[in-house]
């Protein structure tokens, strides 16, 4: 019996799956080219960057926080990596330098949020601008080209026909999903998101856990940045700048509560894929990008409204039962 219950998918999962399938059907009807291997591969070449950033963001949002600086962290790391690569540094070292910068970014966020106690929205709004500014200063506002060819493997290689970045995304998602489900750290993340005071009273070292969460998020942004640098063979400060809102939307669409405590990385990835498919279908059908925003927004609102209504319904039923 217990086993059966575990297998029963959550309501949000069903809604998400329905939305996913609905869009696949629409895409197939709208364009002959949608359900072709070439097209699907092209979706999976572009979408992992946003996906990797979004799963990192999920970890922070599960703790009841948020990281508005994730987009510009990606830009800053891209610029740092680009500068190192063009200066002739070995590739591994260049990537390491950018990862170190990401760890520093995450630490700064965590210090503001967990140690000083600034609300995450405000703290990361500040660091968002700070990181963007730092990236602009470092790159002098220019795009950095002349990325060495040896670095192209990260964003342009395929293994058994599958883009390398898609494999990286799947690996990271599986790792984080297991961490959330099975590791003490994951349980602590969820506990803090539900009630950080009670968690602290239970001996959870909330500061340490939050540090780890923000650092993980920044590091994933850095990985996304490196992939994009490799894919488009340039590095610019505004890389990832436009990713923030779609990523937060995908996290929410994927069933993670913006208040924290509930959620997972799997749903987030499906959310990102849904958004990627919408823009892909519209491109194939030759619909202007103005309409893409409209469609993405509508899907998000519909799913969130549906979730809220069913949740209220459940609450009322429980009240009736207890009476």
């Amino acid at each position: 019996m217990e086993k059966m219950k575990k297998l029963r998918p959550s309501l949000n999962g069903i809604v998400l799956l329905a939305a996913f399938l609905g869009i696949v059907v629409i895409g197939t009807v709208a364009s002959r080219n949608f359900l072709t291997i070439r097209n699907i591969l092209s979706i999976f070449q572009q979408m992992p960057e946003m996906g990797i950033m979004a799963i990192g963001l999920t970890i922070v949002i599960i703790t009841g926080g948020n990281d508005l600086s994730s987009g510009t962290t990606m830009g800053l790391c891209a610029v740092i990596s680009g500068l190192c690569l063009t200066s002739g540094m070995p590739i591994a070292l260049a990537v390491l330098v950018s990862l170190a910068a990401a760890v520093l970014c995450g630490c700064l966020n965590a210090v503001l949020v967990a140690v000083i106690g600034i609300p995450p929205m405000i703290a990361t709004l500040g660091t968002q601008m700070f990181f963007y500014g730092a990236a602009l200063v470092l790159s002098k506002g220019n795009s950095i080209s002349n990325i060495p060819r040896e670095f192209y493997f990260l964003g342009q290689n395929k293994i058994a026909g599958i883009p390398l970045q898609a494999i990286i995304l799947v690996l990271l998602t599986v790792i984080l999903a297991v961490v959330l489900k099975k590791r003490v750290f994951g349980k602590h993340l969820i506990a803090i998101g539900n009630n950080s005071k009670a968690s602290a009273y239970s001996g959870v070292q909330t500061e340490r856990v939050l540090f780890a969460a923000y650092i993980i998020c920044s590091v994933l942004c850095c990985i996304a940045g490196n992939i994009q640098v490799s894919r488009v063979a340039t590095a610019r400060a505004d890389m990832g700048y436009s990713f923030l809102m779609p990523c937060i939307s995908a996290v929410v669409l994927g069933g993670t509560s913006i208040d924290g405590g509930i959620g997972g990385v799997g749903g987030t990835v499906v959310g990102v894929i849904i958004f990627a498919m919408i823009s892909n279908i519209m491109n194939l059908a030759g619909i202007s990008s103005f309409w893409q925003q409209l469609a993405t927004g509508s899907i998000l609102i519909l799913v969130v409204v549906f979730n809220k209504i069913t949740e209220n319904h459940k609450l009322q039923r429980r009240k009736k039962e207890s009476n």
């Binding site: 219950k5 349980k187 539900n194 009630n195 009670a198 968690s199 009273y201 001996g203 959870v204």
Partner: protein, 499 residues
């Protein structure tokens, strides 16, 4: 000369899931009288006030007569219409509006504000209280006492017949309290009745005409103040029907496990010293705000003392963090289950295993489902938690079972010292008995227990020794078996001088 009774309430009951907050309580209010509502924590005073002021609805069968006519108070608006105004402890005012705006609020017609009328109403109301203040000052800039006056002015400007105040003097200084008494007397002359909740006996004897006492959600009695003296009132609140049997017979010549020497924390507690032995239950009692919870939190690293020393097993220890306290095998079950004790949106299994999660791993370092399951099942059985579904979310259990989950969560850490703050607050009678039995058997097995409790019955039934606190200091320490129980109560309630 008896004044006319204008509000009569009878058969008022209020059931929350798992707890009966009020059980067939009655209350009547005469015109222009000052009526005190008394009782220990959890007696149901606040719930009763919420029913009169329309915030909550009583169970069916309640009867409320206003001027002889049966009425209902389905909303706050309805009770204000009947001339009943309540000032809650948080005052419910708006700090970013001016004094005049706060008094006037909610009265503008068609969304238009008549600023002249606004000023006039405010000035008039303050004049009735003989209070002078700048009505254009922002409320947030005023002292708590002045804010309270604004709340009173607002209430009487709404043509009040009955003014309800929830612990009005809790945040006031001595001279401010005197000022409030003056105002209460003034309102009485205007024939406005006042119902107030208080824990302070001297205050009740000073201003009130009659007293209604509640205990455990039940009506104990209503008396004219002339018929009472202080110890009679204490008896009413505490209840006589307690059989103080000696429950822990064996004498405690056992090993000293904890010694606290002169710890102080600015604004919390001062110069606290005591010791705790193996197998002993030590009770901390006193009134709300006496510093009991703050003191015991200091032992769990949540509220570290500024000075003083703590010794465990004779060795001096630092308790600045929860993790340090846990390493010394101390456990703490807080009073507030919902905010501090449990994580309501997580399952019973996750709650019970949270403090020991890192000990329940398999070889690869993953949390082991089988281990957490069997551990949870074990404690569900020992504590008789119902229903015993370990995947059920903590929020879906009754108060008594939630408390058992909170206890289980700390028993899994196998503590040497268990600190429990108000072990049976808001818990049904059956669970209460079970929790009491459990604490006793834990002590018998050698655990040292510190219990904070405001319930005398509980203190005397369970503990071996009792420490009475008042204003952040220890005022009395005694054995519950040989000590004079009335003396302890009086020390807690009246203070050193009068006992």
């Amino acid at each position: 000369m008896e004044k006319h009774v204008f509000l009569e309430m009878s058969n008022i009951s209020m059931t929350f899931p798992g707890v009966k907050a009020l059980d067939q309580v009655s209350l009547n209010i005469r015109e222009g009288e000052v009526h005190a509502l008394m009782g220990e924590n959890g007696a149901g005073k606040s719930t009763l006030i919420k029913i009169i002021s329309g915030v909550q609805q009583p169970d069916p069968g309640a009867k409320i007569l206003l001027d002889g006519k049966e009425v209902e108070f389905p909303s706050v608006h309805a009770s204000i219409q009947s001339g009943i105004n309540a000032i809650h402890q948080d005052l419910s005012l708006f700090p970013n509006l001016t004094v005049a705006e706060n008094i006037y609020l909610g009265r503008s017609k068609k969304g238009k504000i008549d600023w002249k009328e606004c000023d006039n109403i405010a000035l008039e109301a303050l004049e009735r209280l003989s209070v002078q203040m700048d009505i254009h000052e922002l409320l947030g800039n005023l002292s708590v006492a002045k804010q309270q006056l604004v709340a009173i002015a607002r209430a009487i400007s709404l043509s009040s017949r009955l003014l309800i105040m929830d612990e009005p003097t809790a945040a006031l200084s001595f001279s401010e309290v005197r000022m409030l008494y003056e105002i209460i007397r003034k309102l009485k002359k205007e024939n406005i009745a006042i119902l107030f909740i208080s824990h302070k006996l001297d205050e009740v004897f000073e201003v009130s005409d009659r007293v209604t006492v509640l205990k455990d959600g039940k009506y104990v009695g209503c008396k004219n103040i002339e018929e009472l003296d202080e110890s009679m009132l204490v008896q009413m609140m505490v209840g006589r029907s307690v059989s103080y049997e000696a429950l822990n017979q064996e004498s405690h010549a056992s090993e000293k496990i904890l010694e606290v020497k002169n710890i102080s924390r600015e604004g919390n507690f001062k110069d606290i010293s005591f010791s705790l032995h193996k197998g002993e239950i030590l009770a901390f009692t006193g009134l709300v705000g006496a510093g009991r919870s703050e003191t015991v939190k200091a032992l769990f690293g949540l509220n570290p003392p500024d000075e003083g020393e703590i010794f465990i097993h004779g060795k001096k220890v630092e308790l600045k963090k929860v993790s340090q306290a846990m390493r010394h095998k101390i456990a703490f079950i807080p009073e507030d289950r919902h905010q501090e004790g449990l994580i309501l949106n997580m399952s019973m299994r996750d709650n019970i295993t949270l403090p020991v999660l890192s000990e329940l791993l398999d070889r690869l370092g993953f949390t082991n489902g089988k281990k957490t399951e069997s551990l949870s099942e074990e404690y569900v059985k020992t504590l008789n938690i119902r229903p015993g579904q370990i995947e059920k979310m903590a929020k879906n259990f009754s108060g008594g079972n939630q408390q058992k989950i909170a206890v289980a969560k700390w028993l899994v850490t196998k503590p040497d010292i268990l600190i429990i703050d108000e072990p049976t607050h808001g818990v049904d009678i059956a669970s209460k008995t079970e929790i009491h039995k459990l604490l006793k058997s834990l002590a018998k097995q050698g655990m040292a227990i510190i219990m904070v409790s405001s319930e005398w019955q509980e203190v005397f039934a369970l503990s071996d020794r009792v420490i009475v606190m008042r204003h952040g200091r220890i005022v009395h320490e005694d054995s519950t078996k040989t000590g004079d129980q009335n003396l302890m109560m009086e020390k807690a309630i009246l203070g050193e001088g009068k006992a």
